[in-house]
Subunit: 223 residues, 2 copies
């Protein structure tokens, strides 16, 4: 019975199916970890080709990449990952439902940036015409974000950051003008520290609310 | 000698000088803490009116507010506060130097938001025309930021957040469109999680770099 099932599945095998070692290479996740995901049911079984062997398809590659993003970017534990995947696989749940858990996720340290990413960020800042000191730590933050995206399999260049730069540019200018308008140095410093910390929180909260707004409009067919 | 110095200072006393209890009331910092700041040299001495009594002026109010912002918003320890104040008081240091330490500061929990602040945030979101669920946690984040600013003595309304909302709105829309363009649900979720976390880091890093850029231009007299 087992053998005939296998025979049937082998007959369905297509050329783009890959071995578990290839799945590991394609996703940057070790074979041991993939086997753990299979045991935990986070990853659906492959197409069995022998009692202890199976092949995997594009769906597995995507699922492993998603698990990796949830673990490394979303910093989710195994139970939260399972809950998120259950929601992803439930067609009655909207994307907005699915993301509920991840929105409160913590961001871990970004991937270490290489010289290549740093050079790309320098080129971006030059294109923007921004005068920024060569040792500003946020150059490394941006290069690390670029490196993280690439490690996770996203095909992205530093140009992807340009719309974000253009969005914050007028706000930052207005903030610096507001700091400069303070009459005393004590006041200016207090205002600048509050701006750096409290208004950063305001900006990121508003971005999340804007996501909800545009996501609802899209679901309602308004865009 | 001490007495004649005191006599001289009393002669300079102006009507707008206040007692330490009034300084406490004006800044929301307890008398015990003010005495600690005086002992630590973070706060300059007041104008002595008797061997154990002194009066304080507007400069003291500003300095205490600044210390409070550095402690509560910047989350700085006493030594970092002292270093920051030394830099503030050194006329050869630029604002940009002064803020070096605070830029890497951690943000503590925002002040608890009252019903008043929550109602103001609701009015802001209505004005913006944003469809956001009544129990979105970021409503409370924004109301908390507003409450924090008020506790710290900043005279601010929710309207101050509108320019930030307008800055992130087109970016958020573009991000939601990019998520929706993904062909599979796994890909869309991975993209959305990355967007929520990695691009938030990109946005805040770019805002800080834009501050440096506009601050340098201003120092160079280019704006």
């Amino acid at each position: 019975m087992l053998l005939s099932d296998n025979a049937c599945q082998v007959a369905e095998r297509e050329d783009d199916l890959i071995r578990i070692s290839e799945l590991a290479a394609a996703t940057g996740v070790s074979v041991a970890t993939l086997k753990y995901y299979l045991r935990e049911g986070l990853l659906p079984s492959g197409l069995a080709t022998a009692p202890n062997q199976a092949d995997y398809g594009e769906r597995h590659v995507e699922r492993v990449r998603l698990i990796r993003v949830l673990r490394e970017v979303g910093n989710l534990g195994i139970d939260d990952i399972r809950r998120t995947l259950d929601a992803v696989d439930d067609p009655t749940r909207t994307m907005h439902d699915v993301l509920g858990a991840s929105q409160s996720a913590l961001a871990p340290e970004p991937a270490p940036a290489g010289d290549e990413e740093l050079a790309e960020i320098t080129a971006l800042l030059d294109d923007l015409g921004w005068a920024v000191s060569p040792d500003a730590p946020d150059r490394r933050t941006l290069a690390g974000a670029l490196a993280s995206l690439r490690v996770l399999g996203f095909d992205v260049t530093a140009d992807a950051f340009a719309p974000y730069a253009r969005a914050v540019d007028p706000v930052a200018r207005w903030e610096i003008d507001a700091v400069a308008a303070r009459t005393s140095r004590d006041e200016a410093v207090a205002y600048a520290v509050v701006g750096a910390v409290v208004y950063e929180r305001v900006l990121t909260a508003l971005r999340r609310l804007a996501h909800e707004h545009h996501s609802s409009r899209r679901q309602a067919g308004l865009t």
